[in-house]
């Protein structure tokens, strides 16, 4: 090396300070006796309040976790299968799926939110109404059938629509991560398995899924994180009784967030760090034991 990177080192530490600074401020205020951002002295009362009397906050956390886990699960299943198909097979319509699957990745989130809201709130319900209308004039039997058919179209905005939206925008990430893992392997291991007598399901469950576990796991974690993080899309497709954590914060932030949110943020940071480090170590352990 000709010279120590002095300038870049200074910028690096300045940026790290910039990144941590607002979070340290939150940490600081979480121990504030007073309600606002004016320093009134040290106190743990907001931590107490957080665990004794913050039902709305915890309910939103619960909603976020339910949606995050289910969205990540569905997204991982659909995305993993899709990635396998896209990586190793040629078939009709492959180009279409390839192109379309990655568009949500590059479109502004708000466009996805708008399109899904319009879709849920107007079109599906419209189809439902038409079906109901037809049922009213149809002969017996057919009428019942039409009414049953119309049921899924009477969409109520809420947890269900948020879930569908989150699955949609997390799918590309799962596909990307599984694809990245699969591309490390040559198609010959599939041929080898087939040559040795494996049927398609054997190949899927004994070879493909086991080898892509790291990709599937990181896909799941990414989908889960993105779902927990999402605000814009959720804001559009939300309904009554479906307040997620970001919606809760947004709802309260303008009139001043309850101070226990400061305490909650600190606990969340600590919890995430512990979780991330244990996942990292777990992954390291898994890689080593391989």
């Amino acid at each position: 090396m000709t010279r120590r990177p002095r300038v870049s080192r200074a910028v690096y530490w300045a940026v790290v300070a910039f990144l941590f600074f607002p979070l340290l401020v939150l940490l600081f205020y979480s121990f504030n006796e007073g309600k606002g951002f004016q320093w009134m002295g040290f106190s743990l009362r907001w931590y107490q309040k957080l665990f004794s009397n913050s039902r709305e906050l915890w309910a939103s956390v619960e909603n976020s976790l339910i949606i995050g886990l289910s969205a990540a699960t569905v997204s991982t299943v659909i995305g993993t299968l899709g990635a396998i198909g896209l990586n190793w097979y040629k078939f009709f319509g492959k180009k279409y799926i390839q192109a379309v699957s990655f568009i949500p990745l590059i479109l502004p989130e708000i466009v996805i939110g708008v399109s899904l809201l319009i879709f849920f709130a107007s079109n599906l319900r419209g189809i439902g109404t038409v079906l109901d209308g037809l049922a009213a004039t149809a002969p017996l039997g057919v009428a019942q059938l039409l009414m049953v058919l119309a049921i899924p179209f009477h969409v109520e905005l809420g947890m269900g629509t948020i879930l569908v939206a989150h699955i949609s925008f997390t799918l590309p990430f799962v596909i990307l991560m599984v694809l990245a893992r699969l591309s490390e392997f040559d198609y010959s291991i599939i041929e080898a398995a087939r040559d040795l007598g494996a049927k398609e399901l054997d190949i899927l469950f004994r070879i493909i899924i086991p080898i892509s576990i790291p990709g599937i796991l990181s896909g799941f974690l990414t989908a889960f994180t993105l779902s927990l993080e999402d605000f814009v899309v959720t804001l559009f497709v939300q309904g009554p009784n479906s307040q997620t954590l970001p919606l809760y914060i947004y709802g309260h932030v303008k009139k001043g967030l309850p101070p226990e949110v400061n305490a909650f943020s600190v606990i969340l940071i600590v919890f995430t760090m512990v979780l991330m480090f244990s996942v990292r170590n777990l992954l390291k352990y898994m890689v080593k034991s391989k």
């Binding site: 300038v7 940026v15 607002p22 205020y29 502004p108 949609s168 799918l171 605000f231 991330m276």
Partner: protein, 286 residues
């Protein structure tokens, strides 16, 4: 390959993405040229009202503001991210340095935005600090202006720029810098003339990862911004959620999509040109 299971593997994906992505986007396109129904929804009658409404001066200002905020924030982000990624790539303990950059982003996005309100607010940390130092007694308004919006955008999207830059710079052969120095280039020259052109793809990815989300940003201008920082996202949400003007919201979405697509198109054209140059080079060196 005798039997083909590709269709089966991708069937759920194809159905899902068509139903919950392609069709909704198509509907937005159609709605943008329909007539507004004041009770919400649309009347199925062709109309270019929403697009002519876009010629309105307040909308043009919002578009300009949006593009301005996105450009400035992206520029600052890249300028900061380059040396950070460079330092991380050259350091031997880069996992720790990487973690330090990533850890703040394990905190929920809205909490991070809120943290900036705690810093910049009228009764926030900075004002406390100023008062404590006795600089002024009047609270200073740091929030609700375009520069606050830009700072928070930079804050929110820095890691999205640092990570792709880090992965490309890490693959860069630093021996080339020494070769450049050996041939008489200054330290700065060797960085700008040798390293930057070689990590171009990383820079472009970083730009896309910051510029596109900022274009459609909603929460940050809504919470941090003021009257001078109304962005397109704010207008979309207003029209859709309270104004019941679905065709207009759709039309703005179409505009946002077009701006994004133009950016992407430039990116792909650029990539293709790179590939062509590369191929030519290979041909010539054969």
């Amino acid at each position: 390959m005798k039997k083909n299971y590709g269709t089966w593997y991708t069937l759920p994906l194809a159905v899902w993405i068509s139903l919950f992505f392609v069709i909704p986007i198509a509907i937005v396109l159609i709605y943008s040229v329909l007539t507004r129904d004041y009770t919400g929804g649309v009347i199925w009658k062709f109309s270019l009202d929403s697009f002519s409404a876009l010629a309105n001066s307040s909308f043009i200002r919002a578009t300009a503001t949006t593009v301005f905020i996105a450009l400035v924030s992206t520029a600052i982000t890249i300028v900061l991210a380059l040396p950070v990624a460079y330092y991380m790539a050259r350091s031997r303990s880069n996992t720790i340095l990487l973690l330090l950059v990533v850890v703040p982003f394990w905190v929920n996005f809205l909490i991070r935005v809120y943290a900036w309100m705690a810093v910049l607010g009228q009764e926030g940390f900075l004002n406390d600090l100023i008062r404590w130092m006795g600089l002024t007694n009047e609270p200073v308004t740091f929030l609700f202006n375009i520069w606050a919006v830009i700072i928070v955008h930079v804050y929110a999207y820095l890691p999205y720029a640092i990570l792709p830059l880090f992965t490309t710079i890490e693959k860069f052969d630093f021996g080339l810098l020494e070769a450049a120095r050996d041939l008489g280039a200054s330290h700065v020259k060797s960085l700008t003339k040798i390293m930057l052109p070689n990590v171009q793809s990383g820079i472009i990815t970083a730009v896309l990862f910051t510029f596109i989300p900022i274009l459609g940003s909603y929460a940050i201008p809504d919470l941090i911004g003021g009257t001078d920082s109304t962005m397109l996202g704010t207008i979309v949400a207003l029209n859709l959620r309270t104004g019941n003007n679905w065709p207009l919201a759709s039309a703005i979405s179409v505009v946002l999509t077009i701006i994004t697509s133009v950016g992407l198109l430039l990116y792909f054209l650029y990539n293709q040109r790179l590939e062509k140059v590369h191929l030519q080079f290979q041909e010539e060196t054969k």
